[in-house]
């Protein structure tokens, strides 16, 4: 009798351990690391985000392992991505280690409509009109200068087809149209950068030297 009770308890404990291990394996995706091109990312908060060897796909947040620059620095962020219907890709620059309080450039797709927003801690600004030439159904390739040493942060965006980017051939310049974009104030309050995805795929995410120098 005692032997049977001990056997029952052992089997029960073993089963509980196996279940716990399975949950741990599922949760360990939160620490999933991988590369998009040469840039190493660490998944922060989702088990639905996966690296497939050449891209990052799914929904969740991933932080680049190496910081963008010091807080008053400036860098160019190069991005190639595809949005599913209802999908979102946001690049967050100069945020803290949870990618909070960053400068964000957010792309959202609803059907054939692409919405582009500039975000920071306190402001969300619709800048879709600057990117009206883009096709929401296609793979999009852009790059953005974020000059976080200026106040407010100076953001300039180009499509990757521009061979010699400068402020005159940019699609967007946060200082160019002060009537509309003068509403953007503030800057990033950290040194890190990363991506926030929802039902999307990012196939390129690179950090470069700025294209435009004041």
């Amino acid at each position: 009798m005692f032997y049977k009770v001990r056997l029952f308890l052992s089997i029960t404990l073993l089963s509980l351990s196996l279940i716990s291990c399975s949950k741990d394996e599922a949760n360990s995706a939160e620490n999933l690391t991988g590369r998009i091109g040469s840039t190493e990312f660490i998944v922060q908060d989702s088990s639905d985000l996966r690296f497939d060897g050449v891209s990052l796909r799914g929904s969740g947040t991933a932080i680049a392992k190496l910081p963008a620059d010091e807080i008053a620095g400036e860098k160019n962020f190069e991005l190639t991505f595809t949005l599913n219907n209802g999908g979102v890709v946001e690049i967050k620059a100069f945020g803290n280690d949870l990618l909070q309080n960053a400068v964000g450039i957010k792309f959202s797709r609803t059907g054939d409509t692409l919405k582009v927003e500039l975000t920071n801690k306190t402001t969300t600004l619709d800048i879709s009109s600057a990117f009206s030439q883009l096709d929401a159904n296609s793979t999009l390739s852009l790059h953005f200068d974020v000059h976080n040493g200026e106040t407010p942060a100076h953001i300039i965006g180009w499509t990757s087809s521009i061979q010699s980017p400068d402020s005159s051939n940019s699609s967007f310049d946060s200082e160019r149209d002060e009537d509309t974009f003068g509403a953007f104030s503030g800057k990033g309050e950290g040194v890190y950068w990363g991506l926030s995805l929802q039902d999307s795929t990012v196939s390129q995410a690179n950090l470069r030297e700025v294209k435009f120098e004041d």
Binding site: I63, A64, K65, D69, I71, G149, V191
Partner: protein, 362 residues
């Protein structure tokens, strides 16, 4: 305040000003009257082979017009405007506009208006007066390519001691700090600064000036910026030449957003220079800049250092004209990798001053 214009407009304005200044006026015949000077700084760079040749250029970097003189028996006035090129367009902007007096408080100069903040050596002097062509990285990162100017008031006092000590303290509105294209935003705490200087007479007409500087402001986003620095100038003079000069600065900066981790950086430069022949000087600028508490997303410390070497040859026929040639090597060390050459280029500079030039500080 900026006014757009094209190059022809700048030349026209400069030519007109020179013409006006050359006409006899009551002020110019008054020995205590208005003094004017024009300073032009032309700079070129030629990247080394293999780099982007589109970065080659040779063009005016600054064109300044300054007026200063007595307002009345108590006050003096200073006005300086400068033209810079940005993005292919010329902008006139106000550099300095202030009144000053040494007649109200004994051993104290008070000034009020817009001026370059007197912290550090480079920030206190106009760029065309620097002993080298390009700003060291610490100057560019902390103060911008040219320096910080702001509006406020300042007191500078000679302490009543046998050894010379000078203290400057000021407060400026702090709506902007560094490079910006807008009027800025009202800060939580305005810019305030202090500078403590001393001077040592050395044998054979030498001198050493050393200063400690501190500055702080909290901007509209509640980001607290603190700067502490040390600057020194060591030189010997023989008549109008400087057989030896050593200029150096060391700076530390902390930028702390509200409830976030601070970002700290250290930078320094030193520039020794000797005379090699009549009016010909050879110097070398070394500077280094490094964020000191950078970590990766796993919390591991990482290194990100920039340094540069720039041997510089200067021909100075008089105090009114200067010609310079230098070659710069910029190196960077990122993360765990060893230093690599980021860029190298030849630099050329020509500066001239027309009119009365104010007396230099040491």
């Amino acid at each position: 305040m900026k006014i757009k214009g094209d190059k022809l407009t700048i030349l026209s304005a400069t030519a007109t000003t020179v013409l006006i200044l050359s006409l006899p006026t009551k002020a110019s015949t008054d020995t205590a009257g208005l003094q004017t000077n024009i300073a032009v700084d032309v700079v070129g760079t030629i990247p080394s082979r293999g780099e982007d040749s589109k970065k080659s250029h040779f063009k005016p970097r600054d064109a300044e017009i300054a007026f200063h003189g007595p307002i009345d028996h108590l006050l003096q006035g200073w006005l300086g405007v400068a033209a810079h090129e940005e993005d292919g367009k010329a902008f006139f902007e106000l550099h300095e506009a202030y009144i000053a007096t040494s007649m109200l408080i004994p051993h104290t100069r008070v000034r009020m208006g817009q001026f370059f903040l007197p912290i550090g050596r480079l920030n206190s002097t106009h760029r065309h007066e620097w002993p080298f062509i390009f700003a060291p990285e610490v100057q560019k990162s902390f103060f911008g390519n040219e320096g910080i100017a702001d509006s406020g008031f300042e007191f500078t006092s000679q302490l009543p001691t046998s050894h010379p000590f000078e203290v400057s303290m000021g407060m400026t509105q702090g709506w902007t700090f560094g490079h910006t294209h807008n009027e800025g935003f009202k800060p939580k705490v305005p810019t305030h600064y202090a500078r403590f200087s001393t001077f040592f007479d050395l044998k054979q007409k030498g001198g050493l000036q050393t200063s400690i500087n501190a500055l702080r402001r909290v901007d509209s986003n509640n980001i607290d910026t603190t700067l502490i620095g040390l600057d020194s100038m060591l030189k010997w003079r023989e008549r109008k030449t400087l057989p030896f000069l050593l200029q150096a600065e060391l700076w530390w900066r902390s930028i702390k957003p509200f409830r976030e981790r601070s970002s700290e950086a250290v930078g320094y430069y030193f520039f020794p220079q000797i005379i090699t022949a009549e009016d010909l000087y050879l110097g070398i600028l070394y500077d280094q800049y490094e964020p000191t508490n950078l970590r990766d997303a796993n919390g591991q410390d990482i290194t990100q250092r920039q340094s540069s070497w720039a041997p510089t040859l200067t021909w100075k026929p008089s105090e009114f004209s200067t010609f310079r040639l230098n070659y710069t090597w910029n190196l960077e060390t990122n993360h765990t990798k060893s230093a690599k050459l980021k860029q190298s280029f030849l630099g050329i500079q020509s500066t001239f001053i027309l009119g009365a030039h104010p007396a230099h500080d040491f």
